[in-house]
Symmetry: C2
Subunit: 207 residues, 2 copies
């Protein structure tokens, strides 16, 4: 068996390094141009490798994309997963908002990659969403609902609350081009957003 370095096998140092390079380049290109808009040549150039060499490490464009998406899923959901049932409800939620916004600042490419995928109808992620994400979502909405029923935060539909948190925080990464135009001049937009969102959710959730 010569090929298929993708299969579960001990990966050599070179393989680890080049797969990393490729995925990083692919993140850059996919997040900027979307799946269809990205080309293997662009990814190859960005990665500093030849196109056939890219195909040596991955079985095709789609496999690269799926790899990226799956790899990202975990870290993307991590902040939500970390919402502590034993913490102070208001503080937990505000901390979540803060972390999520921080991710828009530090990982805008990842945010846009996801946004692109969902916009297209999540053709390659639906299974993942239906299992991993759905489970986590149900778990956390239940937790928030308990908090609300205990009167520790204001009663609201926890599902829409989470949607609004996702929407407001990811907006700064996904609609960056628009935000930049409208906030021309400002250089600390995200700081302003952090202050605004903190105020907003505190006021909203105060019991």
């Amino acid at each position: 068996m010569t090929g298929a370095p993708t299969a579960v096998k001990k990966r050599s140092r070179i393989q680890i390094r080049n797969r990393r390079r490729i995925l990083d380049a692919a993140l850059e290109v996919f997040s900027h141009h979307g799946y269809r808009g990205a080309t293997l040549d662009q990814i190859a150039a960005e990665a500093g490798l030849s196109k056939p060499n890219i195909l040596y490490y991955f079985n095709g464009k789609e496999e690269i994309h799926v790899s990226l998406l799956n790899q990202l899923m975990t870290s993307w959901l991590d902040p939500l997963d970390h919402m502590d049932p034993d913490g102070d409800p208001l503080e937990e939620i505000c901390a979540y908002v803060r972390r999520k916004l921080e991710m828009s600042r530090e990982f805008p490419r990842e945010s846009r990659l996801f946004a692109n995928e969902i916009l297209q109808g999540a053709p390659r992620m639906k299974p993942h969403l239906e299992t991993t994400l759905k489970a986590l979502f149900d778990d956390k909405t239940a937790l928030i609902r308990r908090w609300m029923e205990a009167g520790r935060i204001a009663p609201l539909d926890p599902r829409h609350l989470i949607f609004s948190i996702w929407a407001t925080t990811q907006h700064y990464a996904d609609f960056d081009a628009q935000v930049r135009v409208l906030m021309a001049g400002e250089d600390d937009v995200l700081d302003g957003a952090a202050a605004y969102l903190d105020t907003m959710y505190r006021k909203l959730l105060a019991p």
Copy 2:
């Protein structure tokens, strides 16, 4: 002069009908697959016309896209434009939220088309954003700021307030695939969202 029906000239009935068909088909296809992901063949099929015929009415793929975008800009910004300086601040803003959410329900394709364009860095819209949108944005943030300074609604950064309204309302159209997965079973998601957002912004803006 035979060609260029695109030029400003009286358009025949057939031209009006077919341009409409094409733009409608293009909206469907572009909003679903993004600019790069859409093909002229798809648009032609959707419009029930042949590809060369499409090219008879528009000088190219890009011209169709730009036409769509420009045409949509107006109607998209209309609700914001209609925020009445003489109305009751809280009611005006809540009405705006309601209208905006209604557009996510009635015109999700338009929403996704814009989202796609902005996600890619607004390559074909930046000029439009910098003029039309920016002017309207500045105008309305100023209005909201006046309302706040008059103590008629709670003081917040009006710019981030508008961002949050856009984000929370458009989320239901743009991230529809995700919302569907997480709200599986519910059939009136948008009604729930309307109630949630109304509560949210009233609470947030109460003086």
